[in-house]
């Protein structure tokens, strides 16, 4: 039964991957206006150069032919070379991925650590002043444009502090330009971008935990536990919180597909060399191969994430049967 289900899902996933890559290419082709990647307004370029480069990049081929070739190579693990810089697309993705994971994982950890107490307190004191103020605080964290918050943090914690001779934080990159790269150095660079990104998670998840706690606390088994005379503390933490956290784990799992665009704005503001920034820059430059590679990779993440979430549901909740 499970095997059949997985097979069906696999088939559906294949359709999704093919569709997504085809749609992306079609959109790029439609909008490119026959732009040749890497061409600038450089007086040294001759019309023949532009024509020749176009042909060499394979852009003269009909899109379906280009797509077929690309797909064939991709299935053999060859995602080709970037049309902007000639490096392999795989190396681009592998170079940026650790940075993005570093940033996102840190932000998620901060988010969870802050969100749980905020959410639990809100749920336990539902309707109280504490609850209202927690609501405002968590909602407020979510009401500031990320790029604005990032710029303000840079102006305060980098520029202003430095100008006053106080200890300050670096404002861009994942490590120091000179002799950087040790753990302390990377942590220092992580603080500002991770702070901005974690605001999003904290706000979202504290609301989530609050409502999921409320739901759990209204369940029969909680009432039973209370009726049995279990201490409130035990009820809340042993039964309530534990059950309320299960959906949170799924939610965190759902962040996986967001790896590409989730931290994009933060990556751009802080010059963080991550996958989102790569995707953004290369799409604007019509680097077909890189965009297709990132799309392929991102789609696999989504598909894998969905599959995993579904399977996990089945494990966690025996009532779900696959058919």
């Amino acid at each position: 039964m499970l095997a059949k289900y997985v097979a069906r899902r696999f088939l559906a996933s294949t359709v999704v991957v093919l569709g997504v890559t085809a749609i992306t290419l079609a959109l790029m082709k439609t909008t490119s206006g026959s732009y040749v990647p890497g061409i600038d307004l450089n007086p040294a370029l001759r019309p023949e150069d532009i024509a020749r480069l176009r042909a060499q990049l394979g852009l003269d081929e009909p899109p379906q032919v280009w797509y077929a070739t690309w797909l064939w190579n991709a299935l053999h693990g060859d995602f080709g070379h970037s049309m902007i810089d000639g490096s392999t697309v795989t190396s681009h993705i592998l170079d940026r991925l650790p940075n993005t994971i570093e940033l996102t994982a840190t932000a998620i950890v901060i988010g969870v650590v802050l969100a749980i107490p905020l959410g639990v307190i809100g749920a336990l004191r539902r309707g109280s002043k504490t609850d209202h103020s927690l609501t405002v605080v968590s909602v407020a964290g979510f009401a500031v444009p990320q790029f604005w918050m990032g710029l303000m943090l840079i102006l305060i914690f980098s520029v202003t502090l430095e100008q006053h001779g106080l200890p300050w934080l670096p404002s861009s990159g994942a490590f120091s330009a000179y002799n950087g790269g040790d753990v302390f150095d990377r942590l220092e660079h992580l603080i500002l971008p991770a702070t901005v990104l974690s605001f999003f998670y904290t706000s979202t998840w504290s609301r989530f935990i609050r409502s999921s706690m409320l739901e759990v606390l209204s369940q029969d088994y909680i009432r039973t536990a209370r009726a049995k005379g279990m201490s409130e503390r035990r009820v809340v933490y042993l039964h309530g919180l534990r059950n309320a956290l299960i959906p949170l784990i799924t939610l965190i799992g759902l962040e996986l597909p967001g790896l590409v665009s989730g931290g994009l704005v933060v990556e751009v503001v802080f010059g963080w060399p991550g996958i989102g920034k790569l995707a953004f820059e290369r799409a604007l430059q019509y680097d077909y191969t890189t965009v297709m590679g990132v799309t392929f990779f991102a789609t696999l993440l989504v598909v894998a994430g969905n599959l995993l979430a579904d399977l996990l549901y089945g494990v966690l909740d025996p009532r779900i049967r696959y058919g």
């Binding site: 909008t31 490119s32 206006g33 732009y35 990647p37 890497g38 061409i39 600038d40 307004l41 450089n42 007086p43 040294a44 370029l45 001759r46 019309p47 023949e48 150069d49 532009i50 024509a51 020749r52 480069l53 060499q56 070379h81 902007i84 810089d85 000639g86 490096s87 392999t88 190396s91 681009h92 170079d95 940026r96 710029l151 840079i154 102006l155 980098s158 520029v159 430095e162 100008q163 001779g165 106080l166 200890p167 300050w168 670096p170 404002s171 861009s172 990159g173 994942a174 120091s176 330009a177 000179y178 751009v268 503001v269 010059g271 060399p273 790569l278 820059e281 604007l284 430059q285 019509y286």
Partner: protein, 574 residues
């Protein structure tokens, strides 16, 4: 692509960052004031000297590093594949060419011992290489390397190499001979005056590393992202994609080993970040946006240098009579009237905060062919603009928009989104022209779409961009009718037989005086025809941290061409 990035890139400049010493700086934070006072002596002198740096009385110290920041990411480290300024800039630190520029654009020998001997028919250039030139791996730099480098872009054998230089080189190079390891003889197919200025500066590549690869393999060679040898002041250490390129001193550099241990090129999100990091000292050298000049001027640790650059910002009328806009703009009175109606001095002061100068000519003032008063000058004169339009039969309709018969003076102006100055200029143009009864609507598109509009699609009415010229006054790419075909930059479809003739004649003459005369005529005609009026000549501005000495930025020494980069040093030795 960062928001401020502009591929044609006049805004690219440079500067350094000191990261390691940042913590050190913290330790002595209390003493910062004293430290600055200590440095202040040398500083006044530096400020007087545009471009920062320059001569310095103190003895240079060995050691330390410099971080140069920029908002353009680099693409390749192969000099024959690169076409963007940022890449050329990093390549320039690692690979020397036969020749280089002085600040004013005059050619000076680099790997070549002297400027080449030019045969009397103007077709043959004979270069002698300096003796004892070494690659960083100890091999000799020979004439074979030079021949190999140029072969990548002209030899049919290397046709599959994706070099943006092939169009020109394969057209002009007849053959390259290497009678001995020190001598290179380049024979051209025809006299081409800008040959040396345009093609004599490419970084020379190592044949002993790349020579065994076939054309296709060269496009994707590891060398392009991690060159194993170099012949310039620095050699490659590491490229952290999307963040920085780290270079180290090349001890076997022909002009003597540089003082610095490391030169780091760091990519930043935008020009605001460049300013911020110049302030914090995260970068030591960086290009400064005109809007940030005042902000940085008050920062003690940064010295600013400003200089004229061979870059102008212009707008172009679509002159193709088959288009709607062409029907409006083929009327010379309309072209002239629109320019008269623009208060360009105000544009320079409001949009560029005074950093730039109103353009009277199509040749930049940095050029030796520049004519500061060509035939027609366009000082802001609204009533003259209206007279011109009235005289040409464009009269205001009920809606306040001028029209001639069924033709309305109404069009759209495009430029690339994300370039603040250009966005502002379009808005000022819109309002200025509205005042004389012309309806111009700004529209912002992404850079690739703008390039496509200019070089191929050409359905635009008017576009606004900047153009960055070399030291040679040739402007055929923009104004010669042969470049009005698909792929050419004459997207405005300007076709003028006389201009074509003058430009061709000037290209085929090596006599500088004759050329100057021809370009004078060219500027006169252009001032009368105004097919694509130049709004202003831009300024280059660099911020350099006080601890950095020996930089000498100038009109032609800002990106790839920096004959001084091996003599840069840092006062704190860090």
């Amino acid at each position: 692509m960062s928001r401020d990035e502009d591929a044609e890139g006049f805004q690219q400049f440079e500067r350094f960052l000191e990261e390691w010493s940042r913590r050190d700086f913290l330790r002595r934070a209390g003493g910062a004031a004293a430290y600055l006072t200590f440095l202040a002596g040398g500083v006044e002198f530096l400020e007087a000297c545009a471009g920062g740096g320059g001569t310095q009385s103190a003895t240079p110290k060995k050691g330390g590093h410099v971080v140069e920041g920029n908002f353009s990411d680099i693409r390749t480290l192969n000099s024959m594949l690169s076409s963007d300024t940022a890449s050329n800039q990093v390549i320039g630190l690692m690979f020397d060419g036969l020749l280089n520029y002085k600040k004013n654009g005059d050619l000076i020998p680099q790997l070549a011992q002297d400027l080449p001997k030019i045969s009397s028919d103007g077709l043959t250039y004979t270069f002698k290489l300096r003796s004892g030139l070494k690659w960083s791996d100890g091999q000799n730099v020979t004439s074979d390397d030079v021949k190999f480098t140029y072969a990548l872009a002209y030899d049919p054998q290397y046709k599959a190499v994706s070099s943006p230089r092939r169009g020109d080189l394969s057209k002009y190079i007849q053959s390259i001979d290497t009678p001995d390891p020190q001598t290179v003889v380049i024979t051209t197919t025809q006299v081409y005056a800008p040959f040396l200025a345009s093609h004599g500066l490419y970084g020379i590549l190592p044949k002993h590393v790349l020579g065994s690869l076939d054309a296709k393999a060269i496009n994707t060679a590891d060398f392009n992202t991690a060159p194993t040898v170099s012949n310039g002041a620095f050699k490659f250490v590491r490229w952290d994609k999307g963040q920085q390129v780290t270079l180290a001193r090349n001890d076997s550099y022909w002009a003597g080993a540089p003082y610095l241990d490391q030169w780091i090129y760091k990519v930043l999100p935008d020009s605001v970040a460049v300013t911020n990091q110049l302030k914090t000292g995260e970068i030591d050298i960086g290009p400064v946006d005109p809007g940030q000049f005042d902000n940085l001027k008050t920062t003690d640790s940064v010295v600013m240098g400003e200089f004229a650059v061979p870059t102008f910002t212009f707008y172009a009328y679509n002159l193709n009579p088959d288009t709607n806009a062409g029907k409006l703009f083929t009327d010379k009175a309309v072209r002239q009237a629109l320019l008269f109606a623009l208060d360009r001095q105000k544009i320079v002061s409001a949009v560029f905060f005074g950093h730039g100068s109103v353009a009277n000519s199509v040749e930049p003032p940095t050029s030796w062919a520049y004519k500061d008063k060509p035939k027609v000058l366009y000082n802001f004169d609204k009533s003259k603009a209206e007279q011109l339009l009235d005289g040409a039969g464009w009269s205001k309709g009920a809606d306040g928009i001028r029209a001639k018969g069924a033709l309305k003076l109404k069009f759209t102006m495009i430029t690339n989104a994300g370039n603040k100055q250009r966005e502002s200029m379009l808005q000022i143009m819109q309002q200025s022209w509205k005042d004389i009864g012309v309806e111009a609507t700004p529209s912002l598109i992404q850079f690739p779409q703008l390039v496509s509009q200019i070089v191929s699609i050409r359905t635009f009415d008017m576009f606004l961009v900047g153009f960055n010229w070399s030291a040679d006054p040739d402007e055929a790419p923009l104004y010669h009718s042969r470049n009005a075909g698909p792929g050419g930059f004459n997207g405005a479809d300007f076709k003028n037989d006389q201009v074509d003739q003058i430009l061709d004649q000037a290209l085929g003459t090596v006599d500088k005086n004759k050329r100057k005369n021809l370009y004078g005529q060219f500027q006169d005609i252009m001032s009368d025809e105004v097919p694509s009026p130049v709004i202003l000549f831009n300024s280059g501005i660099y911020g350099v941290n006080k601890r950095v000495q020996g930089t000498d930025f100038g009109s032609f020494n800002q990106f790839a061409q920096r004959p001084w980069n091996h003599s840069v040093w840092v006062t704190d030795g860090k």
